[in-house]
């Protein structure tokens, strides 16, 4: 498991899964940094992205658009995306806008990683 704090966006890897931490306010500035980090992790070979919203209080419209872009990017790379540790207000926003139809929202990071493990096990078993 590697930890990278070289950029402002905090991230670490668990196997082929990258855990990326969203900042307290997900807007244009922070959103673009997260998007760059996701792109970097996918280029390094990650097959899944867990975006951890434990520090996130607010997500604005630009943040939503950037998250949709990350989902697209993951789809193009055959990678999965899971959101974790999302506060109730943000979950309501994601549900209202339909993002929850595109990604799983896990209770916390551990649950997200377990979900991914289970999904991978299914694929291997299949």
């Amino acid at each position: 498991m590697g930890e990278s704090t070289g950029t402002i966006v905090r991230s670490h890897c668990v196997g082929t899964t990258a855990v990326i931490y969203a900042s307290d306010y997900l807007n244009k500035l922070t959103g673009e940094k997260i998007e760059r980090e996701c792109r970097r992790q996918l280029n390094l070979g990650c097959r899944a992205l867990v975006i951890d919203f434990s520090d996130t209080q607010l997500v604005n419209s630009i943040g939503i658009s950037i998250l949709l872009g990350i989902i697209d990017l993951a789809e193009k790379n055959d990678a999965q995306v899971i959101f974790s540790d999302v506060n109730s207000q943000t979950v309501e926003l994601f549900e209202m806008l339909g993002l929850t139809r595109l990604v799983l929202v896990a209770q916390d990071q551990q649950a997200a990683l377990s979900d991914l493990l289970a999904a991978n096990a299914k694929i291997i078993g299949h």
């Binding site: 244009k28 604005n60 630009i62 950037i66 872009g69 309501e92 209202m96 339909g98």
Partner: protein
Amino acid sequence: MESNTEKLVHAFGALADLGQEIASEGGFSEMVRTSLHVLLGTLAIRRGAVMACTPGSDALECIALWGLGDGFPIQLTVTAPEREQFLGAGLCRVTQNDNSSFSHFLNRHQTELQNSRLELIVPMAGRGELSGLVVLGRKASDEPFTEDDLEVMRAMVRHIGVGIHTHRLLGQIEQRAEENRRLYEEMRTIYKDTVRAFAAAIDVKDKYTKGHSERVGKYSEVIARELGWTEEAVEGMAIAGYLHDVGKLVVERDIINAPYKIDAKASKELNRHPAAGFEILSPIHHPYADIPLMARYHHERLDGRGYPDGLRGDEIPFGVRIVTLADSFDAMTTDRPYKTRLSFEHVIQDFRRNTGTQFDSKVVVAFSRALLKEVTGAVKERRIMKLLNKNYFDLDRAVPLLTNLITELDSNTQSTAAAGTLA
């Protein structure tokens, strides 16, 4: 109902973000890109692009895109009648395939748009003209757009359209301002070249004082700069120096070139040149102040014994006093047919003797300081010394002469000022 309220709150927040983006000082491309993000994020639309009309062409230029594949940007065109149709209709669905006014446009582009998974075309307007189209894909929820969604979309695209229009207008204004600056610079160059040509014409007429006008221009420039004037005012003084003798063009050549001291009648004719210069220069709109007056007054004296108007003291503008000293210095330091040039010691004596009656002490001090800086090497460029003959003065002797004159005139000025205060 609750969900609708939440959507409205989200849309209001997004509108505030959009307003901030459009009013931001960032670049045009960044403004459009972020505005597209705001629009997509407000309704959670997965992909879209902003296509701007290009002046004088039917082609649309993609100026921002998000979530679109490598096939983008696609080449879209919109004809003049279609522009009117888009403005009238407000919105067009890519899938509509009736005999609507968009049939020609859709016939050309429907397949490409559908391949890019784009569903809606929203026109952008600025000042009643189509400024471009925003093309949008489906919502993340896969639900159809509601009437409320379309209203929000139209409102936001209107804002983006106004933002693009305003940025473009600003760009045009900046471009025109730049053109004007360039034209102004060209005109200044033409003006300066013309002035130099005039100065050359004056000097050609007077074979004994070749280069006099140019030297007076340069001396005047040096004095004004030493006095700390603005660059524009310094340029103005150079021009005044170049043109101060322009009235000599109307004086008979024989009088100007007389190799002897001229008689009273000829002297009267020669003395016409300041007023004649004023007449020549007055109709011209000079970019600098008082150029005609500096030609008219350059033979005036502080003691009132000058010509043509016999002005005294403060009646003589300060710029004129600069030209007067520059003119006299050149007359003293160049050979004339009826007299040889004065030695530097004699020039300094003349300055000392005539300061307060003919020359302004501040101008004499400024000129002396500028010359002293050149003599001592305090300045790199020797603008005055370059115009004087080599070996004109002994550098070692020049330093005390100039230093003493400056000290003397400075203390005189201070004691006069003190006396004025006491009075």
